[in-house]
């Protein structure tokens, strides 16, 4: 099976620092692949390159059969690569529904409409409502986002990345800053998406990672030191060393 996402020997340097050191990765369709690593491992830089915000110094990225290495961020989004942000990046002055409709809008033709209100456009509102339902925010559809709690905003983020039925979900620490209960909800949601969506999950929450991932890659100092099933990663000595003092891997 051709991988949906193929990262080949990606390298990114900042002056003397090698932030991404010859990283290669392949994601099969329907796979939930988690990337873990200590702070400063280069996860942010890697995501930046996958999302199109950073240009790698060398290496290539193939998505859905096409080379997207030079494709700008919005182009990748239109091809089905949806990215969520670690720091919640929703639009506070809009309502939940408006936020998700906006996320849908990019995929439904051009936005040179000057007269018809977006909330009267069924091709935007219906998928938006469906995504909101999926993310569990149905009861807050018409609330201005400014009134939402942190956890609810993270749910909104999820709705926004799901609404256009992307091919790949690039999730940047979706559980950041969440309580145990809130994380549980997200894990539930991601479980329900497994198989239907291909997901690249960057996370610190080890319980979630080991519960969800089909495969786990470990990033340390820009290098991928291991890439295997959860069980193998758990047993991997190198990984233990990398994480010494950082976190206890779940038994």
């Amino acid at each position: 099976m051709t991988p949906l996402l193929q990262v080949n020997q990606l390298v990114k340097r900042y002056g003397g620092l090698v932030a991404t050191d010859d990283v290669s990765l392949a994601l099969q369709p329907g796979e939930l692949h988690a990337i873990i690593g200590p702070n400063g491992a280069g996860k942010t830089t890697l995501i930046g390159q996958l999302a199109g915000e950073l240009r790698p110094d060398s290496g290539s990225i193939r998505f859905d059969g096409h080379d997207i290495t030079a494709l700008p961020t919005f182009g990748r989004a239109l091809r089905g690569l949806a990215r969520s942000f670690q720091i919640t990046s929703v639009f506070p002055e809009f309502t939940v529904l408006e936020n998700v409709a906006l996320a849908m809008q990019a995929h439904r033709g051009h936005s040179f409409g000057f007269w018809t209100p977006v909330l009267r456009q069924a091709e935007l509102v219906e998928p938006a409502r469906a995504a909101i339902q999926l993310a569990g925010l149905h009861h807050r559809s018409d609330a201005p986002v400014a009134e939402l709690a942190h956890g609810e905003r993270r749910q909104l983020e999820m709705a926004m990345v799901l609404v256009a039925q992307p091919k790949l979900l690039l999730l940047d620490e979706p559980m950041a800053g969440m309580s145990h209960q809130e994380s549980g909800k997200v894990v539930e949601l991601l479980s329900s998406l497994k198989g239907r969506y291909t997901i690249l999950l960057i996370e610190h929450d080890m319980d979630a990672v080991f519960a969800l991932a089909d495969r786990i890659s470990v990033l340390v100092n820009g290098r991928l030191v291991a890439s295997d099933t959860p069980a193998a990663i758990r047993a991997n000595a190198q990984v233990r060393i990398a994480y010494l003092g950082d976190e206890e891997l779940p038994a």
């Binding site: 639009f91 906006l102 040179f112 409409g113 909330l119």
Partner: protein, 326 residues
């Protein structure tokens, strides 16, 4: 029974007063009121155009007076060469402003923040110097416009016609703004102001939409310039001066940026304030300056913005009072 909203009442009252102003001017024998009213409307139209990019798009353009000037010169230069047909002048103005707007926008939008502000200022200044050096069109002194724009069915030579044309255009622009901000284009523009990075991640080619908004805005401002030239009977480099660009920004913020009615309210408030201050002292700018500083420090939401806030607060109180979930 819909609850009473002060913002709506104020807006309605203003429109009513504006519609009736020429009547008052005629009855009270105050032609100045009509001229002043036209001036307010011209600046309101320019402010509506600026509000689009500044209030909704977050692009602080400090060079919008450029298009005001281009509009005036669109009339002036053509009239100078004997072309008094309003439609032709309109066409030339629209075309010129669109091209200049698109080109300067293309360069300016490669930057953000402080750089963007400075670059728009620099471009406007560049054109200012250009027109100063065009001696054949009056140079620094400007060009006088003897015959006003003739649109066939009507001509802008009559003060009343000019006034009602301006009023109609302002109201149309306000309506268009109201529709636009909730339509696809407006949502993208507003999204870009809040978080452009997110917008790109969602799949929007943000430059395309920001540039379109900027170009649209410059054309509308040019339209205001066309009216301005007809109002004053003059076109001068001073119409492109940075001071005028600054005044437009003050109007937009003072009225309430990012609100539909703000620009009109701002134009009324600023121009009336200026008249009052002028009556007080010759050195009225020494008072206006600090007032603007004060406004920048305190009055963030603008007059109409505060009215909207008050309505929202009262609505929230009502919801809480009824015991219903907010």
């Amino acid at each position: 029974m819909k609850p009473w909203r002060i913002s709506q009442s104020v807006a309605t009252a203003i429109v009513l007063l504006l519609v009736l102003l020429p009547l008052y001017a005629r009855l009270a024998g105050e032609p100045f009121a009509l001229t002043f009213g036209s001036r307010v409307l011209v600046f309101a139209l320019a402010a509506v155009s600026l509000n689009l990019v500044l209030g909704y798009g977050g692009m602080v353009s400090f060079g919008h007076a450029l298009y005001l000037g281009l509009g005036a010169y669109g009339v002036g230069i053509l009239a100078h060469h004997g072309v008094h047909n309003g439609w032709l002048q309109l066409g030339v103005t629209i075309l010129t402003c669109a091209i200049v707007g698109a080109l300067t926008g293309l360069v300016s939008l490669r930057t953000t923040g402080i750089a963007f502000i400075m670059i728009t200022l620099a471009f406007a200044q560049m054109f200012y110097y250009l027109f100063v050096s065009l001696k054949q069109y009056g140079g620094d002194d400007g060009l006088s416009i003897a015959n006003r724009s003739d649109f066939g069915l009507f001509t802008l030579g009559s003060p009343i016609t000019l006034y009602y044309t301006a009023l109609l255009l302002v109201l149309a622009a306000l309506l268009a703004t109201h529709r636009l901000v909730h339509a696809r284009f407006g949502m993208v523009l507003r999204g870009c102001q809040v978080n452009e990075r997110r917008m790109k991640a969602l799949g929007f080619s943000t430059l395309r939409y920001k540039l379109s908004a900027y170009t649209l805005s410059s054309v509308l401002c040019g339209l205001a310039g066309l009216l301005y030239g007809n109002l004053t009977g003059f076109a001068a480099p001073a119409y492109m001066a940075w001071t005028l660009s600054g005044e437009l920004i003050v109007i937009v913020v003072l009225g309430g940026m990012g609100t539909v009615f703000g620009p009109l309210v701002g134009a009324i408030v600023l121009l009336i304030s200026e008249e009052l201050l002028k009556a007080l002292t010759d050195h009225w700018m020494m008072i206006l300056g600090p007032l603007i500083v004060l406004a920048a420090l305190t009055a963030r939401r603008g007059v109409y913005g505060y009215l909207l806030d008050w309505d929202a607060w009262r609505a929230q109180q009502r919801r809480a009072g009824k015991g219903a979930a907010p």
